[in-house]
Symmetry: C2
């Protein structure tokens, strides 16, 4: 796919059949974060641009850190009951929900076309949120992933040795829905991440929902604990939680706070074949059961059990991504949160 | 501004008067970059998510580095002769062209509304492009800016001591058009940057234009040398160059290659009051003169000389940003590159 135009034509929905996306507004903002003081560094002379003029830069002073980035798309024909927030997983950014690595429409466009005001974000230290110097501000080192690492860990490949630079030689899970031909592009979407910034990420997400107001949150993987914790902090501002393969949960001692928030938890395929996912899923199921015991409304969908097979950890990028999105949209309509067309 | 809805209402164009933005498609892709091998690092056990399950991570292997991110918006009523690429400056990302720091419409929306297919990007090592580990891949340290640094250097403030945390105490240039009340938000848009990645950035921009095809490039500050070099490498694929306060230029020995490319160079206000900008501008003017001497078509506009006063280095964020955008649009129409409505 050399240009985005052919790309759009390869969408799961034939381009000819697609209505235009009509927006009353689109834009972005940064929110949250804090100011920190850094002292004791030597003054530098920096030539910012080759052939430019050197500037004296004093690295001592006040820095803005731990803010996050939010991009919003507001449809003309709004049918959602409230804003729809998309939160990405670890080592990833809001690109997660945009065009799939093989060039099909992602969940951002899907939910926008369904009439939701969609807010797609980059969490603290990821993408357009920017990141802070370490060890001065962030503790520990950033983590980078090899091109091979996510292939098995995200349940695309069949076993730790399943990745190969040659797409034809990669051993995908039997019946995998991941677009193997897009794996190189998926790897380009990966961003360095820390494992020490959870509190800052949660604080910025709270700032986001305080600004946007009562919203639905759809979140993936690492954002599992973030979204449940934000909901436990601002239960009045969360109208529904949609957890896509959450890697963690909220505070088990506060499940009663989530009682009023309709919650959907989705797991993909091959869980049992993975060394880590049976336990990760069990943690999610236990949290869901505790929410229910506290009077909450939680639906757990294991995609293979409803006849949807082959999904990796990257459900929103899999070839059947719009089928899974449709299942989420139907659930939201069932909760009275979206008007049918 | 608590929510983007009021924000959009504060647009320079009254929201009521705005037509919807109607898109035949929107999406994103990553392009460019290379694979590198990293060896000799210890294997780590990483718990990616608090309460999650530890994973064994081998940091040795192949890494994808130096790719860039491109987000595109394709209008239903296309009136531009070709795609319109927006390239940001140093320490910044594509956010530069989105909503202004005080919540008005930026140049992305403006040119989209004028019927251009707009491609807004994050250069290598910035924003959603991701960044590579150093010193293994990138040489040197990343550069972070204090909240005070850009205030005078971007010609918002009047002198090096003009910045103050209290907006009311900041000494702006007399008649400044920069939205002082948005400065805190502008600072949140800043991203760490290196000064050693120019070649990788140019290579990725060439990959972008090779994928998108013949395009107009509008570029700011640090992207000056990048855009002129890309045009000198792919003159057949650059239909116009719009340089907004370029911090550098191309190869003076190859100005003849740019002969066929209509070029507009724009400078803001307060150049003479700045310690660095008179020389930076002189470099740009000399390059423009050399292009003309080689038979090129170059228009240089010093905004104050055409009655547009008060512009900082961040023209696209200043309160009169749409007036300057209109000047650019008129220039493009004059070159026969955009059909009038």
């Amino acid at each position: 796919m050399r240009s985005p135009l052919p790309v759009s034509r390869t969408s799961a929905v034939p381009a000819g059949a697609e209505e235009p996306i009509s927006l009353r507004d689109m834009g972005s903002f940064h929110v949250g974060g804090r100011l920190v003081e850094i002292e004791g560094k030597p003054i530098k002379e920096v030539t910012f641009t080759a052939g430019g003029v050197p500037a004296r830069v004093d690295p001592n002073g006040t820095y803005q850190v731990e803010q996050m980035y939010v991009q919003y798309f507001l449809p003309v024909n709004e049918r959602g009951a409230c804003p729809f927030l998309l939160w990405h997983g670890g080592g990833m950014t809001g690109v997660t929900y945009e065009t799939t690595p093989d060039g099909r429409e992602g969940w951002l466009n899907y939910f926008l076309r369904k009439g939701w005001s969609v807010y797609n974000s980059d969490a603290v230290e990821r993408g357009r949120a920017g990141w802070a110097q370490y060890p001065d501000v962030f503790k520990g080192e950033p983590l980078f992933l090899t091109t091979a690492d996510p292939f098995a860990r995200f349940r695309i490949g069949d076993g730790p040795a399943s990745h190969d630079p040659d797409p034809a030689k990669r051993r995908l899970m039997p019946g995998s829905q991941f677009p193997n031909e897009g794996y190189e592009t998926f790897v380009k979407q990966l961003a360095p991440r820390w494992t020490t910034t959870d509190d800052a990420i949660v604080a910025a997400y709270i700032a986001e929902i305080d600004r946007v107001g009562p919203s639905i949150i759809l979140f993936h993987s690492q954002a599992g604990p973030f979204a449940f914790k934000v909901a436990q902090t601002r239960p009045d501002k969360v109208k529904a939680l949609i957890a896509v393969e959450p890697a963690g949960v909220g505070d088990p001692a506060k499940v009663d706070v989530l009682r009023t928030i309709p919650t959907l938890i989705i797991y993909g395929d091959y869980i049992e074949r993975d060394p880590r996912w049976p336990k990760i899923r069990a943690t999610g199921i236990a949290f869901a059961e505790a929410m229910k015991a506290a009077g909450g409304s939680v639906d757990v969908i294991d995609l293979p059990r409803v006849g949807i097979h082959g999904n990796s950890h990257l459900t929103m990028m899999d070839k059947n991504n719009l089928e899974v999105a449709g299942l989420i949209q139907t659930w939201l309509e069932g909760k009275g949160l979206s008007r049918k067309r």
